[in-house]
């Protein structure tokens, strides 16, 4: 289909203008507002004890959720692709649930099971373990929302790969583990890497589910996104530098993640 120069330019213009107005302009305004009183003021807001502890909690939650979901994701993708049957189909449907269900509903669900009057919550409380309104519940919520990414990134790669190489390795006498480490894992590494980056971004940025199960106590159960929320709702409509600074910090972290995603996953465009 050959289109005229004018049509081409207007399509390009509409596309770029849409991106600029919807994504880039708002982001620019946040950066501008962060630094309107100078860099020092913004810096002092992200180095308060509450902000530093929020950053740490966010990192800790990501460090719990991402490795767990990576191991689970790789195993699960192998099962889904290599085994056919009803169980695999059911599993396939369940994996998508964290994408389909609202984060708030995820938070509610965890409260119903692990909360004070929850199914297992009473037992845990009797043994002195507090889950909801504490860090364990937030960890559960983070694991929940970031669960599907690795499975969904590794699955298509495995399917495209086929299993001839694995069978060849097996006929040459390789054990299951050897095949996995020397054949399967190296071929799916870009899928795994991309899944890990996506889960990390989600784990660091999650707010809906974590908001429900956090007690919102600064220094204890505030993650970086919750800190933005807290600061912004405190000052109300005239959200000040404090919340913009925290938002910029979070944005910079995620922009780095995005950069890593673009630079280190060259295989992506080809595969998709």
């Amino acid at each position: 289909m050959s289109i005229s120069r004018t049509a081409k330019w207007s399509l390009r213009l509409v596309a770029l203008a849409y991106l600029l107005l919807l994504l880039l302009l708002p982001l620019g305004v946040v950066f501008a507002k962060t630094f309107e009183h100078g860099f020092g003021v913004a810096w002092s807001w992200v180095t308060t004890p509450a902000a530093i502890s929020a950053l740490w909690l966010s990192i800790v939650l990501a460090l719990i959720a991402v490795p767990l979901n990576t191991i689970f994701g790789v195993v699960c993708a192998i099962v889904l692709v290599r085994r056919r049957g009803r169980l695999a189909a059911l599993l396939d449907g369940i994996i998508d649930l964290p994408f389909l269900v609202s984060p708030v509903i995820i938070g509610l669900a965890l409260t119903l099971v692990y909360g004070i009057h929850g199914w297992f919550g009473t037992w845990f409380l009797n043994h002195g373990i507090r889950i909801i309104f504490a860090v364990p519940g937030m960890a559960l919520a983070t694991v929940f929302v970031s669960l599907p990414y690795v499975v969904r990134e590794v699955g298509p790669v495995l399917r495209e790969l086929g299993d001839e190489q694995e069978q060849a390795a097996a006929t040459l006498g390789a054990s299951g583990w050897q095949t996995f480490w020397r054949i399967t894992l190296p071929s799916i590494r870009w899928g795994v890497a991309y899944g890990v980056i996506l889960s990390t971004a989600r784990a660091l940025g999650e707010i809906g589910a974590v908001l429900v199960v956090s007690s919102l106590v600064a220094g204890q159960t505030l993650t970086l996104p919750l800190l933005v929320y807290e600061r912004s709702s405190q000052v109300g409509a005239a959200a000040g530098t404090s919340s913009y600074a925290a938002a910029t910090e979070l944005a910079v972290i995620s922009l780095v993640v995005l950069l890593v995603m673009t630079v280190f996953t060259p295989g992506r465009g080809r595969r998709r």
């Binding site: 050959s2 399509l11 991106l19 689970f72 964290p98 389909l100 669960l147």
Partner: protein, 240 residues
């Protein structure tokens, strides 16, 4: 087992909690004015998001695949921005641009329009990333053949390109719809008094009325399931 503990048992608890009340209580918690209003706003905004997203997403994918211009790789990376950016940051950016202290005098915060803008922002990549690979693999020879047989651009687009892209567009906008139905992070700071379903659920949880929250949750879950299943029927598998 892992899946059961993390995902299934909690979700079953929501359903059980919603069903485990008298039908009239259930009906009351989803048909009171606040809940009903929030459902309507959420549904309308989600349908609009899916629709506008389908058109603009296809257009963006077209420009990214068929057009060549300097800086295209950067634009391609920018598409992923909404996936990488934490939703609360999206909320802050919209508050900065459209809030009371807007530098351009755009006071859209706390209106229904801002809900739509936020949803378009967070769901932007879905359609683009679904359509892009299909468009890449589309054989231009078919289009050339059509052109040589005298078909105009509009005909080629309608008869050749659109049918090939339809499954991808549908599954992309179905995902966008499902995401919109449950979105909270980007909206929590900017909706003000506009009621959206996920925030009503949150308020219900905060006021310890977990049965009301569960009832509304069940409605949302069923809604997104219906849309996804229909889209799957219409357009093949949902790609992520």
């Amino acid at each position: 087992m892992y899946l059961a503990v993390i995902v299934l048992i909690p979700l079953v608890a929501v359903v059980v909690n919603a069903v485990n009340q008298s039908p009239s209580d259930f009906w009351q918690s989803i048909s009171n004015k606040v809940a009903l209003d929030s459902l309507v706003v959420t549904l309308v905004a989600s349908v609009l998001t899916a629709g506008i997203g389908a058109v603009m997403g296809t257009l963006l994918a077209w420009v990214l695949v068929r057009d060549e211009f300097p800086g295209k790789r950067i634009i391609n990376a920018v598409i992923d921005l909404p996936f990488a950016l934490p939703t609360i940051v999206v909320g802050m950016t919209l508050l900065a641009l459209y809030g009371p202290s807007s530098p351009f005098g755009l006071h859209l915060a706390y209106t229904r329009v801002i809900v739509l803008i936020a949803l378009l922002f967070v769901t932007l990549p879905f359609v683009v990333r679904a359509v892009q690979p299909v468009l890449m693999e589309l054989d231009p020879e078919v289009e050339e053949a059509a052109a040589s047989l005298g078909a105009g651009n509009a005909t080629i687009f309608r008869r050749i390109i659109l049918p090939a892209l339809r499954p991808a567009i549908l599954s992309g906008s179905a995902l966008a719809f499902a995401r919109s139905i449950g979105e909270i992070g980007s909206l929590v700071l900017i909706v003000g008094k506009v009621q959206i379903a996920s925030l009503v659920i949150f308020t219900d949880i905060e006021s310890s009325s977990s049965q009301a929250a569960s009832s509304l949750s069940l409605v949302l879950i069923v809604l997104s399931l219906i849309v996804l299943v229909t889209m799957r029927r219409l357009g093949g598998r949902v790609v992520h």
